[in-house]
Amino acid sequence: MPADTNTTRSTGLHVGEIRPGVPKVDPIIVADNITRSFGGLKAVDVEHLEIPRNAITALIGPNGAGKTTLFNLLTGFDKPDTGSWSFDGKALAGVPAFKTSRMGQVRTFQLTKALAMLTVLENMKLGAKGQAGENFWVSLLPWLWRKQDDEIEQKALKLLERFKLDAKQDDFAAELSGGQRKLLEMARALMSDPTLVMLDEPMAGVNPALTQSLLDHILGLKAEGMTVLFVEHDMHMVRHISDWVIVMAEGRVVAEGPPDVVMKNPAVIDAYLGSHLDSDIGVVTGRVGVVKEKKK
């Protein structure tokens, strides 16, 4: 059962006293004064936020807290009213979504976006970066892209195996179940070897046995040097794999810190649970079988 046998939980990610907006030793994303309103509603209002590099950061918060909106803003799918932010030292304000993805910041969607009338394998191959055959003129000359395409296919097949979708490779994505589509989308995002993967509720609807194996996989990504930022409502998963937890409520970052510390924070328990003040947040929100965590 234990997953993090080969990876250690990263510690010492922050500088100074832990509080919302605390600076990080090596941040990959730095955001300042990001606001986004829908009508009168301030969906996102983040003063300062840093995401640590080569760590797994969980973004949690109640429904409507602004997590998805923040994802959209950071990846260029939506434009903030104010604010600036950078990825890997490069300013991203005004950069279109496809370019942020090319820089190595790849995301998935809460409402799954499998490409229904493409096969599972085609979905995967679309995820690879820098394909010569995606140029109009080059595409007409198969001998210029065939070899690269075969390599991409090999890589796709390996990932599909990992995600238990290899038997489905020739099916249309429309034929997959909801959970399988989630898996496909995550696997597809990994085809581009991103520096930062941003997963919006990756495990929603995925069965527990597979969740365990995917958690291992996410930990493996970190071991390879990737940074992971994910939104999740399942507190066990959050506790289990994250190095850092950021809590949002009503558009603002209300708390952040290492998982153990954050889960005990009264502000968090308040935002999440209201009256269940004395309960362990994991037991209230999580599944029945409590994952025992190896203390490092």
Binding site: T75, F77, P96, A97, F98, K99, S101, R102, V106, R107, T108, F109, K113, A114, L115, A116, M117, L118, E122, N123, K125, L126, G127, K129, Q131, A132, G133, E134, N135, F136, V138, S139, L140, P142, W145, D149, F172, A174, E175, E185, R188, A189, M191, S192
Partner: protein
């Protein structure tokens, strides 16, 4: 009834220039709608630009015939850019509305007397055939068998059209099996997903719009080759016939437009031959001869509705598309 005459009047449409022109323009629509998911309701405008580009550059500027074709293609590229730049960033429906309007603007510009010196306004253009016919490698004479008996000029138009169609189909096939085609089909399914994977969605939509538009202009050229260019031919109903052809054959198929176009014209000419004769023979007591020949348009309209309802994937399309789209 003279079934022999009906038969020979009908089968000649298999290789008529109109059939080839419709097939060409419909391959363009297949690129737009079937593969890239772009709703173009102005393909008649692209055809008009091809036909007029060809005729005007020969008549007014003395270009050789092949340069006239290139001018027609270039005009359609410009038209695609004008249409695409403002609308391709918006939702798909906006492109649809813009294309209907823009195609009408194009037709009315050719029809108005303002540019009479170039367009001959409502009367249209003719007499630009010399260069094309001089390039005909077929010696003078009458060739063929049965209903397919034509002189060298008629054969040259057909052979040239079929060659163009073959090139266009080959190009489409090459593109759609390549990574480029994968991106374009991905955009049809969900453009945000494709954007998230680092593809410049706007650029691919533009490329698809231009490509299908150029195919449309080649359809216009073949439409113009045998006789004349008249603005009245490029009305919205031409676009809707092309859509019928597309949906009949299968929107996301390589050969669907050819199959659809041949079937469309065979059915149209069969009805055009049969219905008036039936009226004359007194089989349709409620219709006159003239009414009967118009009735075919009603039947084609009904057929289009039936296809959309009962076989949305078309004749050559994949059955699964039906199941999935019914979601």
């Amino acid at each position: 009834m003279d079934w022999g005459a009906i038969f020979s009047n009908t089968v000649v449409w298999i290789i008529s220039p109109e059939t080839i022109a419709y097939a060409l323009a419909t391959v363009g629509l297949a690129v737009h709608f079937g593969y890239a998911g772009l709703l173009n309701f102005g393909q008649a405008g692209f055809m008009a630009l091809g036909a007029y580009g060809y005729a005007i550059s020969i008549l007014s500027f003395g270009f050789p015939w092949w340069a006239g074709i290139l001018v027609g293609m270039a005009a359609s590229v410009v038209f695609a850019l004008i249409l695409g730049i403002p609308t391709l960033r918006l939702r798909a429906d906006y492109l649809a509305i813009a294309t209907i309007a823009a195609a009408e603007v194009v037709r009315l510009l050719f029809q108005t007397t303002v540019f009479d010196a170039f367009t001959n306004s409502a009367d249209g253009l003719g007499g630009y055939h010399e260069g094309f016919r001089a390039a005909n490698p077929i010696p003078k004479g009458v060739y063929g068998f049965g209903p397919f008996t034509y002189n060298e000029t008629d054969w040259w138009v057909r052979i040239f059209g079929i060659l163009l169609l073959a090139v266009v189909i080959l190009l489409t096939w090459l593109l759609m099996r390549s990574p480029w085609g994968r991106v374009v089909k991905g955009i049809r399914e969900d453009e945000d997903a494709v954007r998230a994977l680092g593809k410049n969605v706007f650029s691919y939509k533009m490329q698809a719009l231009i490509l299908g538009g150029v195919f449309g202009s080649l359809g216009g050229v073949v439409f113009a080759l045998p006789s004349a260019v008249v603005p009245g031919a490029y009305v919205p109903s031409l676009t809707f016939f092309l859509w019928t052809v597309l949906l009949l054959g299968g929107a996301a198929t390589i050969f669907g437009p050819v199959v659809g176009s041949v079937l469309f014209w065979i059915i149209m000419s069969f009805l055009a031959n049969v219905l008036p004769r039936m009226a004359d023979a007194g089989w349709l007591p409620f219709m006159t001869n003239a009414q009967a020949s118009i009735a075919r348009y009603i039947l084609v309209g009904i057929a289009l509705m039936l296809i959309v309802v009962f076989r949305p994937q078309g004749i050559l399309g994949n059955k699964k598309e039906l199941t999935f789209n019914a979601r």
